[in-house]
């Protein structure tokens, strides 16, 4: 039995009476980038919300470092070492950049490390250091995404969950964000990446799962899925639909 950092086994999730996720099993190994891919409404965001404790699974197991996350509240989950960068960034726009970062290290495990976490954040994102006193809402879209990631890193996570980090960004920033994810991974941060940008995400993912209407329809190493004609069809098809 191998030891995964995060493991979901047979997870079912409901919104009221409607089942959103069906019997999903996923494993994330330490030090890897795992992609969770699929179109809008496939259940990717629902899965991340369930892992971070915002919603709770009806059945199935969620284990992090072999400890169960079921029934835990978000504030407990982040203190165990899982940071979640939600879709749309969800910064505190009326608060300054520095205040956002300070709240990032709010969990007890991270609070004493605030100074050194801040230094790391400014090394990764020099642009934020110049803007500490500025309100988060006044930053550009790309800067806001950087702040959202920096804020999540302030909690010293073992697992970083990113929900659509490239959404709404200019192509240049999209490339920057994907390069950043690789850099973070090189620094031993394990990453669970939710993306609609399937092509880019597969290129950096060690392992990937493709979700469709709440079910896993395909999984395997990133490069394998990238070469898979079925994925290519779906991917091209998706781009075609968007046009």
């Amino acid at each position: 039995m191998e030891n995964h950092l995060l493991e979901l086994k047979g997870v079912d999730i409901f919104y009221g009476d409607v089942q959103a996720v069906w019997d999903v099993s996923i494993s994330v190994d330490e030090g890897t980038i795992v992609g969770l891919l699929g179109a809008n409404g496939a259940g990717k965001t629902t899965l991340l919300k369930t892992i971070s404790g915002i919603i709770h699974a009806q059945s199935g197991e969620i284990l992090f470092s072999n400890r169960s996350l079921a029934h835990l509240r978000p504030q407990a989950v982040v203190d165990m070492g899982i940071s979640h960068v939600p879709e749309g960034r969800r910064l505190f726009s009326q608060l300054t950049v520095l205040e956002n970062l300070r709240l990032g290290s709010y969990p007890p495990r991270a609070r004493p490390l605030f100074e050194e976490s801040l230094e790391r954040a400014f090394t990764l994102f020099p642009v934020l250091e110049a803007r500490t006193g500025q309100k988060a809402g006044s930053l550009s879209g790309g800067e806001q995404q950087m702040l959202a990631i920096a804020r999540a890193l302030m909690a010293h996570p073992d697992l970083l969950m990113l929900d659509e980090p490239s959404l709404g960004l200019s192509p240049i920033f999209v490339r920057t964000i994907f390069e950043l994810i690789k850099t973070l991974n090189d620094q031993k941060v394990t990453i669970l990446l939710v993306e609609q940008n399937i092509h880019q995400a597969l290129k950096i993912s060690h392992q990937a799962y493709v979700l469709k209407t709440g079910k896993i329809v395909m999984n395997g190493p990133g490069d394998e899925l990238l070469a898979n004609p079925e994925v290519q069809m779906a991917y091209i098809g998706e781009r075609w639909r968007k046009k």
Partner: protein, 294 residues
């Protein structure tokens, strides 16, 4: 009539308005804090202010404690009561999607407090009379009653105290963050119950200060609380929901509006004008008059 209007008179009206208005202001700050994290109008706020006015009155009448000195009892008591209200009444309802449940609890609490006060203190108006109750300063020919002046100072000091707390402490920053986006705040590790407790405690703490101000300045009865809550709500709307400094300014603006309209248009019209402006502001500037943020 206008020939009687002198510079001193207008100045006096403005001063009266400001002195009145700061009381509305600190009540509105309390509402603003609770609204921020809980997303409800805490309608019982006025009744709680009157309750603390009675506590101040009792401490004075029964134990001979000076009303201003009683702040050292009233403020800790009100902070505790605020935390107690949340833990005892709102904790379960706060987690629900439907905020109307919490609002109904506030309504129930308001009427319960009012009825209990009627039983204990009767409907007869009470007031505190000390050696300085009738003391009046007359700088530049304007009358400034001592107790109103102290109420103003208390209001301003507590408003700045709350602002300092919100801006400079970690838990204060967490309260502001939770006011903006509770779900995102919980992802930072912030416990929603904890920020709600803090917002309630500080909000009701301000009600304690307002109660002492009220007891020293006016005569009051249990039914006065509801009117006070509505005035605070108007001040809150003027300042913009959730904007703490705006709430204080909104209170002052309301005080000025009342003072000026009751003199120039007629006392009978003052309330009608106030509510009219309240509706106009909500209709055309729902974000409040002072556009800024916390």
């Amino acid at each position: 009539m206008l020939e009687y209007v002198t510079f001193e008179l207008v100045l006096q009206l403005l001063v009266n308005g400001i002195l009145f208005g700061t009381m509305y202001g600190i009540a509105a700050i309390g509402l603003s804090l609770v609204y921020g994290t809980m997303r409800i109008i805490f309608l019982a706020h006025g009744a709680i202010i009157v309750f603390f006015a009675y506590i101040c009155y009792w401490l004075f009448r029964l134990l001979g404690i000076d009303p201003y000195l009683s702040l050292i009892i009233v403020v800790p008591l009100s902070l505790l009561l605020g935390a107690g209200f949340y833990a005892g009444l709102f904790k379960e309802a706060a987690a629900l999607e439907d905020k109307n449940i919490s609002l109904l609890i506030a309504v129930g609490l308001m009427y319960l407090a009012e009825q209990l006060m009627l039983v204990v203190w009767t409907a007869n108006p009470r007031s505190i009379s000390t050696i300085y109750t009738d003391l009046v300063f007359r700088p530049f020919g304007i009358n400034i009653p001592f107790t109103r002046f102290i109420a103003l100072v208390m209001a301003i000091l507590s408003a700045f105290g709350v602002l300092f707390f919100l801006k400079k402490t970690l838990i204060g920053t967490a309260v502001r963050a939770a006011s903006e986006d509770m779900e995102s705040a919980t992802l930072m590790g912030i416990n929603p119950h904890w920020v709600n407790v803090v917002a309630f405690a500080v909000g009701i703490g301000l009600a304690g200060v307002a109660g002492v101000g009220l007891a020293t300045v006016y005569s009051f009865d249990p039914g006065y609380g509801f009117i006070f809550a509505i005035k605070a709500l108007i001040a809150l709307a003027f300042g913009g929901m959730g904007n703490v400094f705006g709430a204080l300014l909104g209170g002052i603006l309301l005080g000025l509006l009342e003072s000026l309209s009751s003199f120039f248009i007629g006392a009978g019209w003052a309330d009608a004008i106030t509510y009219g402006v309240f509706l106009l502001v909500l209709t055309f500037r729902p974000q409040g008059l002072f556009g800024g943020s916390t």
